[in-house]
């Protein structure tokens, strides 16, 4: 590498630095806060960026022992797991039909999926709360399992339609000429080829439902039913007294499942994002 090329490369990294600091500093600061002793945390003359008086796990143990954090996490996992699996199944068959089959109304329904994909959740939460009441699901995590597919299904369908289109039609037709039925061709030929798309759909659906906030906040309220995001943001704040250490510990632990997925499947997140996953 010539000296000029090397210095350009170094310059690029220097220019990237402010972006990286902007992106990562909040996480760094949250971690530091959650590990600090209260004495140092609330010392107005201490340097907030570092831990001087020794780290402690007190905030984490308090969070796990004295609050319902584990229940909220369990609720989040249950809601996310059921909503994600149901949505991906519904979306897979719908996307297959929309991208491969010719039938009456296929174009209209395709447009309908795209339109609902764009509808923000904040437009519908008021009337949906009424529907939830009528269904007898008020203040129950089942309200979330029922409503999350309303944004997951359009999203996954749209994502999967793109992937199914990349599977050559000829592959499927060959199998059918050789005597396979359409269902067998779908199950044995198309789906295996579209596995990267399915992984992507599952990842994004999982992330979207884990991160969902407005429905969870509106449809559930009791401590046994709420999800991690709602629990940490509303139950850990009582009156005017904030327990910042526990709050930050909760925010970090509540993000752990997503971070784990993210570390293992980073490339899928990037490719899904460029394939049109936007929410």
């Amino acid at each position: 590498m010539s000296r000029r090329a090397l210095s350009t490369k170094v310059l690029m990294h220097v220019l990237l630095l402010p972006f990286l600091v902007f992106a990562l500093f909040p996480f760094y600061h949250m971690t530091m806060t959650s590990l600090k002793q209260d004495r140092e945390l609330y010392d107005r003359y201490a340097v907030p960026l570092i831990i001087k008086q020794g780290p402690t796990l007190d905030h984490y143990t308090k969070l796990l022992r004295e609050t319902e954090f584990l229940t909220w996490t369990k609720n989040s996992l249950l809601v996310t797991a059921i909503a994600t699996s149901a949505s991906v199944v519904i979306a897979t068959i719908a996307a297959y039909a929309l991208s491969r089959l010719k039938f009456l109304g296929v174009n209209a329904f395709g447009t309908g999926i795209f339109v609902t994909y764009l509808v923000p959740t904040s437009l519908l939460f008021l009337p949906l709360a009424q529907v939830i009441n009528w269904l007898g699901l008020a203040d129950s995590k089942w309200a979330l399992i029922v409503t999350y597919p309303t944004f997951l299904v359009p999203f996954c369908t749209w994502l999967l339609m793109g992937y199914f289109r990349t599977v050559p039609k000829e592959v499927e037709e060959c199998a059918m000429v050789d005597g396979a039925t359409r269902m067998q061709a779908l199950w044995r030929i198309v789906l295996p080829i579209a596995i990267p798309g399915l992984v992507c759909a599952i990842l994004f659906a999982f992330t979207l439902s884990w991160n969902e906030f407005i429905y969870a906040l509106t449809f559930t309220s009791s401590s046994e039913q709420i999800t991690a995001s709602v629990g940490v943001t509303s139950e850990l704040i009582r009156g005017d007294i904030y327990f910042w250490g526990e709050l930050m510990a909760g925010a970090i632990l509540g993000s752990v499942p997503i971070v784990i997925l993210y570390v293992f499947f980073l490339d899928y997140y990037v490719s899904g994002l460029t394939a049109g996953a936007v929410k």
Partner: protein
């Protein structure tokens, strides 16, 4: 008659039941509708129907636990006349306009940097994308702490660097500072989406165009202006349209950071609609607030269908 028709009906029945089902499933005109039925039922019951209900609510004086009457567009007019709603309306445009503009400019810059030869390319991309995958409500709690009136690390840094006079601004308690704070968090959370999507657009630009431009004597700036930007236009249009609708309808950041305050100065449609509809119980008026989002949604859908889907097919 009955005797005459019986054999005709019995003939296909002689085929095993499973074969007949299989044959039906092979027909596109039957399998297609069958496959979209679950999605159709779900969306009809939990999207289309609530939407119609929202329309009805907005045109009624609906209140929690009370029968309602049709009152026409009174809610919309009353809202338009109220200062709090006007403030919300203005906030939504300020918030969206500034956020999207910053995300676009910073997103293009970041994408250009990410497209260069880099060490630890994967790690850097992973770090850049992180704010976008973490639950927004939880990461906003971190920002809430960073903007805290007594222990703000933002102010501490500002004072340490000599940019701010102690004690520094009370970010979430003062009108314009609070708006600046929610906009900052929105940019922080939305920038990765812009950067990564634009990066994909950058990578797709054929190298020959740059070589040709260079041969014609174009410098880096004119190559960016005459090659990169025009080639990126479709991607930028998609990103801006999507981001506009989701920034406009944002809820999480404002709800966690400021709750719409101080004195409604950061309320957006979604947070104001929740306050009116659920916290005060005036469902009709609350539904009308969120329906003010609807014209924008229609415009974005129209633009997307027109410009974006044309390219997809």
């Amino acid at each position: 008659m009955a005797i005459g028709t019986l054999p005709a009906r019995a003939a296909p029945a002689r085929l095993p039941w499973r074969t007949r089902v299989r044959e039906l499933l092979d027909r596109e005109r039957i399998l297609g509708p069958l496959f979209i039925t679950p999605a159709l039922i779900l969306l009809a019951l939990l999207v289309a129907y609530p939407f119609v209900m929202a329309l009805y609510f907005a045109l009624s004086n609906s209140f929690i636990g009370r029968p309602s009457q049709f009152i026409g567009i009174t809610n919309f007019i009353r809202l338009w006349d109220s200062d709090a709603f006007r403030q919300t309306f203005q906030n939504a445009f300020v918030f969206t306009g500034i956020s999207v503009a910053f995300k676009l400019v910073l997103g293009i810059s970041l994408a250009l940097l990410l497209s260069q030869q880099l060490w630890f390319k994967r790690v850097i991309r992973g770090a850049v994308l992180l704010p976008w995958v973490i639950p927004t409500a939880l990461s906003t709690l971190g920002w809430w702490w960073m903007f805290n009136s007594l222990y703000s690390v933002v102010n501490w840094t500002g004072i340490a660097l000599g940019i701010m006079d102690p004690p520094g601004p009370n970010w979430l308690g003062q009108k314009y500072y609070a708006m600046a704070a929610v906009i900052t968090v929105n940019i922080w959370r939305g920038l990765p989406f812009f950067a990564i999507t634009i990066l994909a657009g950058l990578v797709a630009i054929p190298k020959e165009l740059y070589e040709a431009a260079q041969a014609d004597g174009a410098g880096p700036w004119s190559r960016f202006w005459y090659v990169t930007l025009p080639m990126l236009k479709p991607v930028l249009a998609v990103v801006v349209l999507f981001s506009t609708i989701f920034t406009f309808s944002d809820f999480n950041i404002v709800y966690v950071l400021t709750h719409g305050g101080p004195i409604n100065s950061t309320h957006l449609f979604a947070t104001y609609s929740r306050m009116i509809g659920l916290e005060s119980g005036r469902i009709g008026e609350g539904a009308a607030v969120s329906l003010y989002l609807f014209p924008l949604l229609v415009f974005v859908v129209w633009a997307q269908l027109r410009f974006v889907r044309k390219q997809a097919y």
